[in-house]
């Protein structure tokens, strides 16, 4: 089970695990669940479907049955594990400290290693996880093609034609991110000096999709950090963090990416590693869990996770400088699950919003998942849209000028929700609002 040799890290054209590790949730992890059921009403899929099979307690029970050979590693099991958003709201509700996030990732790895998905699903997953996101050249190409579709007028034409509705993919089209005119790849490798007195040095995690669809957010992050006296390095050679791989059960691939990033980021001298994506951050804070059986990397993984910070967490920690201007607007804040539940970061984004003069409006159930959940809104589109519909009931129940969140996946999903409801309320990242507050007029 344990890996004994440290493989030479490098990013492959196509990710192939160097060391095969057979993952499955261990009895020790599973048995912390005492099936009390306190998680049920915190689980978005249980609330929606009302089935024990789609509850955290039920999923853990199914994993136990599979491990004990009472239930096959088959379609039913895969269906219910696939339906989990991985929002880990259940971890917050759990009195026994069940590490559900870690458990479900292992169960997904067990599925990947022991269950054959239908051909089309397999091919698409392989293309996306192994070809597109870990390889920035392919990502650039795919994004370029999408940009052409979106900006050449083709998308407008296709949307108007009703073809998407006919094909049943109108929701998916709405959920695809708007590709940037200018990608962020060119900034990787650069150093951005602190403005005024230097207060710290950080390494910025540029992400994968962010480079092609949220480069303005990345630039905003650079601006806010430097304006606050932080020197920002964007280490050359960094790659995808592997969050989507880990969530999809591709743990060996995720390990490979983790080792690579550990080498790159520990290669420099930084106070912290900073990301603006909650999903990436929560995954990178768990590199030590991912590499628990890799003695060659475990201690370095721990060193890495100790420095990993969400940008809101880091900024609230050092304290903001007085902004250039106040954002005098009423702002509601939706907690990203991977920030609030997985990283327990709830107060910091709110503190930052208040510090730049926003009037904070509390959304009811702001800590409940919007249904975005990485690629969930594409892979489980129907359920995701129902969860979004519930979220929109809360989103529309209070009045404010702007909806803020702190993760791009949530932004895309919430914008789709606003569009569906014919609402013009802007949905922004906390960092974008900070950027406005620090912009030179």
């Amino acid at each position: 089970m344990s890996e004994t040799t440290a493989p030479e890290p490098h990013v492959h054209d196509s990710l192939k695990p160097v060391v095969a590790v057979h993952d499955r949730p261990s009895w020790e992890l599973l048995s912390t669940c005492v099936h009390c059921g306190l998680c049920l009403n915190h689980c978005p899929t249980y609330k929606l479907l009302g089935n024990e099979m789609d509850s955290p307690r039920g999923r853990i029970y199914q994993m136990l049955q599979v491990n004990e050979g009472r239930m096959p590693l088959g379609d039913t099991f895969v269906t219910h594990i696939d339906r989990c958003l991985g929002c880990v709201a259940c971890e917050i509700a759990c009195p026994s400290g069940v590490k559900y996030g870690r458990i479900v990732e292992r169960a997904r790895a067990q599925i990947e290693q022991g269950y054959k998905r239908p051909f089309i699903q397999r091919t698409l997953r392989n293309f996306f996880y192994n070809r597109v996101i870990p390889n920035f050249d392919t990502l650039r190409f795919v994004a370029g093609t999408m940009r052409f579709y979106q900006r050449s007028g083709l998308q407008t034409l296709v949307r108007k034609s009703g073809l998407l509705k006919l094909m049943g993919v109108a929701d998916l089209d709405r959920l695809s991110p708007q590709i940037d005119r200018e990608f962020f790849f060119g900034e990787i490798g650069k150093v951005f000096p602190a403005v005024g007195e230097k207060r710290g040095t950080v390494a910025f995690v540029a992400g994968c999709i962010n480079n092609v669809a949220f480069s303005h957010l990345n630039r905003a992050t650079l601006n806010v950090l430097t304006q606050n006296g932080i020197e920002v390095h964007i280490p050359q050679g960094q790659g995808c963090c592997g969050a989507l791989h880990a969530h999809a059960g591709l743990r060996d691939e995720a390990r490979e990416l983790a080792r690579h990033n550990i080498n790159i980021f520990l290669g420099g001298s930084y106070d912290a590693f900073v990301t603006n994506a909650a999903g990436c951050g929560s995954n990178m804070k768990e590199y030590d869990d991912l590499l628990e059986n890799d003695p060659a990397y475990l201690s370095r993984a721990k060193e890495f996770t100790a420095k990993m910070k969400d940008v809101t967490e880091y900024l609230a920690g050092i304290g903001l400088r007085t902004p250039k201007r106040k954002i005098g607007q009423k702002v509601a804040y939706q907690d990203p699950c991977h920030l609030a539940n997985a990283q327990r970061i709830r107060t910091q984004p709110r503190e930052l919003l208040t510090a730049i003069g926003c009037e904070l409006v509390e959304l009811p159930h702001s800590d409940q998942c919007c249904g975005s959940a990485g690629v969930y809104n594409v892979a489980q589109n129907e359920l995701s849209m129902k969860i979004l519909e519930k979220k929109m009931e809360d989103v529309t129940s209070v009045s404010y000028d702007m909806l803020a969140t702190a993760n791009v996946g949530c932004m895309i999903q919430l914008r789709a929700g606003m569009e569906q409801h014919g609402l013009k309320t802007p949905v922004k990242h906390v960092i974008e609002l900070l950027d406005e507050a620090y912009a030179s007029s």
């Binding site: 099936h35 009390c36 049920l40 024990e52 009472r70 009195p95």
Partner: protein
């Protein structure tokens, strides 16, 4: 389950409202307790009419039906004993009416306990019974088990807060019991139904009282170097004429277990702590808090802490409310006991539990509603070890025997269900039980609803002298490993 019955169930409730595949049914073989049995089918009812049709069908075909809410019960009330239909009411989860001027709410059985309070708090009201599972358990389940909670010392248990019920009888007949009024005319069947553990009828609509939020709340934590001093304080407080809203006790082992989990601020070297809450008008509460504090110190409390604000108060309660789950962090399995003793007997009973713990070499943690003498010893064991599992059951039985010896009862709030049925004969005479059977037969003559639960059949109870039935994990037919 017979395929024609499954077809009819699907016709009544809809295709996606019936589960019949083994790998789905396995998920309904457990609740939060220890017993496990796989049902023959699960059906999710969405309204009263469907419940009525399902019951009529079941009665015709003589198939047992077991109602189920969230499955957070601890006595096996929602576990199907035979090839039964589990009737899930989880999807009947609407709050139908909030009538603030009359202080009533009308809810469907699947409404989660805490969600009712969340919905009424903006009007200045809440639903008082607060079982520790309140964020997940359903009000329907609370009605079946007559659930209590820490705050039922002053305010009473579920039966004191339910004024009306709509019930479907086993033959499908729908009856109305009580209503919004405080007192029902004729026999108080509402009171009779609450706590009947799903053996008389299926509750499909519940009218509950809403309680005004107190003007002021004071929460105290009294810390002790010996369990005896804490136990004596409980008696002394009640003798002083103050009835706290809640009076909870955790022993030293539980304190350390809770602290390792949630850091509620309980001192880890304490032998016992009392969590005391007083509520009402500000002046009265402040005076009472002072008086209670003095009583604690007279009874050799080493320190009495007052929660300064709502945050501190919530933190102190977090420790108590997550106590059971915290045990899950240190033990793969535990067996929750629910016994009642006169509060004057607390020190003797705890000594006895200590002896039982040593005898079977099992850790037993104690957390309980000290005010009403409702004990919850938690017996830790590893379910993979058959000897330990067996011993945990033996220890449980001895604890229950001890409660009875001291003039108490075998259940305070978790119900008899499957788990404690064998002990009913130790608590009641054959004549007592016969009256219960006659009452049940008036509503559920053929034992269609929740059979072999709560009240042992008379010929059956004569046979019960041996050990309690064992939890079994049975192989599932139709599923290939």
């Amino acid at each position: 389950m017979d395929s024609s019955i499954l077809r009819q169930l699907k016709k009544i409730a809809g295709k996606d409202a019936v589960l019949d595949r083994p790998e789905e049914l396995m998920l309904y073989e457990y609740d939060a307790g220890v017993d496990k049995h796989r049902p023959g089918a699960v059906v999710f009812a969405q309204n009263t009419q469907q419940v009525s049709q399902i019951m009529r069908l079941a009665s015709e075909k003589k198939i047992p039906v077991v109602p189920r809410g969230a499955g957070t019960g601890l006595s096996g009330g929602a576990i199907a004993r035979r090839e039964a239909i589990v009737l899930s009411l989880a999807r009947m989860n609407k709050i139908l009416e909030i009538d603030v001027p009359n202080q009533r709410a009308v809810v469907e059985p699947g409404v989660v306990n805490l969600e009712l309070s969340n919905a009424t708090v903006k009007h200045g009201y809440y639903y008082a019974p607060d079982p520790s599972s309140q964020k997940a358990c359903t009000i329907g389940g609370n009605v079946a088990e007559n659930s209590g909670g820490p705050h039922t010392l002053a305010l009473g248990v579920t039966v004191n807060h339910v004024t009306g019920l709509e019930v479907v009888l086993p033959d499908g007949k729908v009856i109305e019991l009580g209503g919004k009024a405080q007192d029902s005319t004729g026999l108080d069947l509402t009171g009779f139904f609450v706590g009947s553990e799903g053996t008389m009828g299926v509750v499909t609509r519940i009218t509950v009282k809403l309680t005004k939020l107190p003007e002021h709340v004071a929460t105290l934590l009294a810390i002790y170097n010996t369990v005896e001093d804490a136990a004596n304080t409980v008696v002394a407080i009640t003798q002083s004429g103050v009835t706290p809203a809640a009076l909870e006790m955790l022993d030293g082992w539980m304190v350390r277990c809770v602290e390792a989990n949630v850091h509620a601020g309980y001192p880890e070297d304490a032998a016992a702590v009392l969590l005391i809450e007083l509520e009402g008008m500000r002046e009265v509460v402040e005076e009472q808090a002072k008086a209670v504090s003095e009583v604690c110190l007279q009874q050799k409390a080493r320190e009495v802490r007052h929660a300064k604000d709502e945050k501190q108060r919530q933190l102190l309660w977090l420790g108590r409310k997550t106590a059971f789950g915290s045990v899950g962090r240190v033990s793969p399995s535990y067996y929750t006991q629910d016994g009642v003793i006169p509060r004057t007997k607390v020190p003797y009973t705890l000594a006895e539990i200590e002896r039982i713990s040593k005898k079977y070499n099992l850790i037993i943690g104690n957390v309980f509603h000290a005010g009403d003498g409702n004990l919850h010893p938690l017996i830790l064991f590893d379910s993979r070890d058959p000897k330990q599992t067996e011993n945990s059951r033996k220890a449980a039985k001895e604890i229950m025997a001890c409660c009875l010896k001291f003039g108490g009862s075998i259940t305070g709030e978790h119900g008899v269900g499957l788990e404690k049925m064998g002990l009913m004969t130790a608590m009641f005479t054959e004549d007592d039980l016969e009256v219960m059977v006659r009452l049940r037969n008036a509503f559920n003559p053929e034992s269609i609803l929740n059979p072999q639960k709560m009240i042992p059949d008379l010929h059956f109870c004569r046979e019960i002298t041996g050990p309690l039935p064992k939890a079994r994990i049975e192989p599932v037919e139709g599923v290939q490993a």
